[in-house]
């Protein structure tokens, strides 16, 4: 199964400047693992040392924030679109 992952600007140097990449996986966690296999270094940017998604990183399955689905265990299917979008915040 393959999904489209939309990559934010600061991570595109890891994806040969591609804004969208296609990888396999049946849930968000395996999609991240497969991203890492193709684009070394991307996992440690998305996840912390314990493997949790960093709090300033939003991951969406289609238009839904995975925090409101099943987090990393959220199932994905062929053709789904996953967006990685850093949070917008400040003081």
């Amino acid at each position: 199964m393959a999904v489209i992952v939309r990559i934010p600007t600061p991570l595109r140097r890891l994806t040969k400047n591609l804004a969208e990449v296609e990888v396999g996986g049946d849930n968000i966690e395996s999609v991240i693992e497969n991203l890492e296999e193709n684009y070394t270094g991307i996992k440690e940017r998305i996840c912390d040392e314990e493997g949790n998604i960093r709090r300033f990183v939003n991951i969406y399955l289609n238009d839904e924030d995975i925090r409101f689905l099943d987090g990393k265990a959220t199932a994905v299917k062929d053709g789904d679109e996953i967006s990685v979008i850093p949070a917008i915040a400040g003081g």
């Binding site: 934010p8 600061p10 991570l11 238009d63 924030d65 967006s83 979008i85 949070a87 400040g90 003081g91």
Partner: protein
Amino acid sequence: MLALQLDTLDRIHEHAKAEFPDECCGIILSDGAREFVRECRNIQNERHAEDPETYPRDARTAYLIDPHDLIRVHKEAETEGRPIKAFYHSHPNHDAYFSEKDKADATAWDEPVYPDAAYIVISIYDGEVRTTRAYAWSEADTDFIEMPIHEG
């Protein structure tokens, strides 16, 4: 220089007044000819209430754009051909400057998240807008620097 339509400035100033004493936040899209102000929800108070250790500040001194609003505006930017021109937020009872937290949060993995967008800060004291300033990433300075706002 950041050229902004008068309407856009009016709208973001009204938003800052409406949210006072909390910070307002939002996104400005542009198709080149027109600007589109998209007010976003500041969810800082909710995060602060849930986890004050991780989020020590409340919405009077911080903002966090609701992730639902963020994806909605991203989709609009893409499907309607209106790229993100700027982000804005207010500093209630503080001056308009790009704080260390603003810089840190506009950077991810040691790089600017949106190198082509401006960040607008509105200073509002006691419900009255005092100053509005804009900042953007400068590759030459490897820092965020002030950009004069041109109205009209």
